[in-house]
Amino acid sequence: MSFRILHCVAALSISCLFISPSFSATSEAPSSQIQPLAISSLILDIADTGQRLVAVGERGHVLVYDGNWQQVTTPTSVQLTKVFFINETLGWAVGHDATILHTQDGGQTWQLQMQSREIEKPFLDILFLNEREGMAIGAYGLFYRTNDGGANWSAEFHEELLVEEDVSYLAELKGSDEAAYLNERASLLPHFNRIIALKDGRLVLVGELGLVAASNDKGITFTRTGFDYDGSMFNAIEMQDAVYVMGLRGNIFKADLSLSQWHEIEMPVQSSINGVMAMSDETLYLVGNAGVVIQLNSDDTSSIVTRRQGENLVSIAKDNQGNMWLSGSQGLFILKP
């Protein structure tokens, strides 16, 4: 039995979907606490605002780097999974309990835009196309959109990404039992792990169970690409007219911009790849579980840069002095050249 099914069972008890954007910025959720070891706690993402680095992680931790890392308080203590900046000042961070935080000062102070314990699903990525239009995605097809910079968020259900049998199953259920229908709907879509914008404006969405989809209309509708691997994809990046998707057990695939033909790249490890960064026009750095850092070149050759025993790496970013920062289960540290 796969974990996937177990999660569906677990999700059956959820009785909500389409939570309206009116949520309660709950008093039950305490704010994050400044602690000396926040820098070495689980850090799940680092974003470059263009001026500084901002990192987010467990317990609502946000750290800002201006020559050294400084923890700032946030109005939540849930795990934050991803942070995104559209410019030097405006940014959003997302996390568990369907949490969305917003900053207007480059990460120094944060306000809650959305949070709902009842949704019981984490947001796993957030993308803004400009200062107003953005989308937050997450587990079980969680998808929220804003057109006003996050003042209002509304849910979308991407039925087009359901597998065929589920579509008919849902249709059947809808007729007979409305409540069960809503319940099922909340858990049938795969996890949406990562959404990126290509240079030409198209969006690429990757996720659980081999989900790799593209959208030409700012994410209103997605179409699955011709991707036929069943494992989860955790990240995606565009480099030199090619798109790379990567994920479970060191699987990484590459396609040209038509996104129709994917071919697998031979990798030196079998660890899941979580994070990726373009080092140059020709080189990607990949980080993943079991502490692997891998250099991948545009000619599909790859090599292990380092292997940090006993920890998982999730994200990689470069500061304006050229230091490579890694983040993961042991917090933040510089990649020694």
Partner: protein
Amino acid sequence: MLEKLVNGFELFLFRNRTWVVGIFALLTLFLGYQASQLKMDAAFIKNIPLNHSYMQTYLKHQKDFGGANSIMVAVEDTSGNIFNANYFDTLKNVHDQLFFIPGVERSQVKSIFSPSTRFTEVVEDGFAGGPVIPADFSTTQTGLDTVRDNIEKAGIVGRLIANDYSAAMVSAQLMDFDPQTGKPLDTIAFAAQLENELRGKFETDKVKIHIIGFAKMAGDVADGAKGVLLFFLIAILITAVMVYLFSKSIILTVLPLVCSLMAVVWQLGLLTVIGFGLDPMSILVPFLVFAIGVSHGVQMINAVRRRVMDGQTTKAAAASAFRNLLVPGGVALLSDTVGFITLLSIDIGIIRELAISASLGVGVIIFTNLILLPLVISFTELKAVKHAQPTAEEVRAEAIWRFLAKFATPKYAIVVIVATIALYFVGLQQANQMKIGDLQGGAPALHQDSRYNLDTFFITDHFSITTDVMAVIVEASPEACTYHDMLIQIDEFEWLVRNTPGIESTVSLASVAKKVNAGFNEGNPKWEVLPRTTASLVQAIGQIPTTSGLLNGDCSVMPVYLFMKDHKAETIETVVAKVKAVAAKMDNEQLQFKLASGPVGVMAATNEAVAAAQLPMMLYVYGAVFVLCLISFKSFKATVAVIIPLYVVSTLAQALMTQLDIGLAVSTLPVIALGVGIGVDYGIYILSTMSSKLSNGMPVQQAYYEALVERGSAVIFTGLTLAIGVSTWFFSALKFQMDMGILLTFMFVVNMLGAIIILPALAAVFWRQPK
């Protein structure tokens, strides 16, 4: 009345002296046999303050979580790489051998060879997993490669496998009782078995065995304690030479030594009679008994010799010396005994044992050295060597006494008193900085370069584990771990406490459940959270067995383990304070965070118990000494004159501890009580001679001079004998004996100085001559 009684007693004893000596001989035979049956005995439970609230928590949950009595065996491949056939064979043998040593809790033996050591990995359609050592394991290259992969997948590097793959760990919990005999586990025999059946059998050039854990340490301490026998012989030898120099007579050298050794035999024999063993901690007691015995013996032979020189027969001289010394000697010994008995108030088993065995030992000296010794002397025929002219030595002695007597004049007295006050305040300032607990890394009882401590350092260097673990016990209602609300509190507690200097890492059911949950979500770190739904939470918790030590059977009790950088008292205090502060904020009806289990939990309790015992112990000792002095001198002034120097010296001893980085611990706590109990002897001997003269109106200086002539040499001699007896410990293999040796030597010598310098100065002030 007392005098009558003593006289009657003397008449009776000396008339029946043959009988009395015969009875003593028989008793010695009996107790000697008993002493030969004495066993070394070091039980874990004796070392901990059982009534301390931490230890109550510890004992309450000991059954579920094994507590603090564990053993770790690191098997090292000296080539630095464990992946070879020879190594794996040895490791398997070590695992099996440890499993079969009686006293080991078999369900808790852990290594990569235990079936419960499993790996899981995420694959496309779920989990794959199995035991790290597969059922079809063979020590071929392929087999070893598989194991190597499994080890990495199982995430046991740092715990069961050294970080650099140079060693692997086999660990076990010990039972308190031997399952075969039902008796308490013989720790020392167990340690010997570890030594013989693990290290003896399996250590080679290629494979080294490192063993740590309380039981092993106790065994090593016991071994080290055996080396004390040599020190005992050296102490006897030096003492014999000194007594001979003092007495100039073979017979007067042999007799007090034999009587003192007899006291030692009686003391050891009595231990067996009352069912005690000899704990390495109390091994110092025979030294003390011997030294105290000799010092009283010397007072006795000194008294006899003076009387013989004055022309009495040896028998009459012995009887008279007996009469004269029974009361002051008895009071002095009684105050020693009382001083030791006060240690009973401390709630730590081995200190109580020390108290009992030391009071027994000092008690028997009354019989062997105050009663038997003069009786035996009375059988001898001492030559009266009375020179018409005082010898050069006597002239020199007299000059010394004349000089010392000046301290009893007001002029010098003021100087001495001012100097004493100054010294006291300097000392007090230092004494206040005295540290509680063990200040060094490794096992504090042993030296830093002992095998045990080197093993400890090897393990802490190569593994991410430490023996310096404290567990905070979280008590909740049954099934508490299935509620997100509960676990999130434990998670929060763990994190807040984790942020304390001195804590290296932490683990609890909550933090492991988060990792398991990530595992259930394709190993994605973004799912390292406690799921809100009970179903998902139970699914994660279900993966964690009770053998992990993270939860009990119905998960109503969940320890949070705090791995600390060391067990220095300051570190412990910081962590305990933080735990208390966080617990105070977080405790509620559903969850209570309670201190403490684990080795450092025990240390924390011991430190607190020791710190708390210090003041009452001092009060009791001084109270007892005060009352006894008051009874024997019937003078408040005399009592105060004896006690003030003692008190100053106690303070200076504490200052010395600060200076030498000796912490107040189970081993050093009793030293001050012992030092005071014995140190008071000097004052009692000197002042008892002075007080009758003073009450007859003799000037202080003259009274003191006469007291010195009569007993001065004996007092100085006593101080030196005692000091020599304990100073040999300086070379002990055991760190705590070294500490005790240093402190006792200091206390004995400086108390002696106090009695001949500060005491007369105080007397000069208290008995000022009316002008």
